[in-house]
Symmetry: C2
Subunit: 81 residues, 2 copies
């Protein structure tokens, strides 16, 4: 697994953590974030390299700031990489 894949995995795990804390299903969350269900599933599994616009939609749907989302991403990245 190269560094790119690891970054996508870490991002997906970060998003999943916040989503599960809110107790929303992946399917409902994807609809709320206006992302296709399979695309969003791929992001959470770390199979997709999401774009800025998708990342903003995810943070908005989680009702957290981008700063907050990436604070957690930075923590998980330090632990893994």
């Amino acid at each position: 697994m190269d560094n790119k894949d690891k970054l996508c995995m870490i991002f997906g795990a970060t998003v999943r953590k916040f989503r599960e804390e809110k107790d929303i299903s992946q399917e409902k969350f994807a609809a709320y974030a206006e992302l296709h269900r399979t695309y969003f599933g791929g992001i959470e599994r770390g199979e997709r390299n999401p774009t800025l616009v998708s990342i903003v939609r995810i943070a908005d749907a989680l009702d957290i700031s981008l700063e907050e989302l990436f604070r957690e991403f930075d923590v998980q990245r330090k632990d893994i990489l």
Copy 2:
């Protein structure tokens, strides 16, 4: 200009602000971040919707955390949107 374009513009302006504070040319910075010069120029002008992996490369090349980059992005977004 729709919301997607605005988000890309805000991101580009945020990156440019940090890069200019470091007093590095766009060309040198792109090489350092291992991004193609024209792709990076497009990001700064808000013409590109950068991926997570490119965003991480940019933050690393700026020697700032993702959290710090997006704190400034959030501030600029609140001012504009």
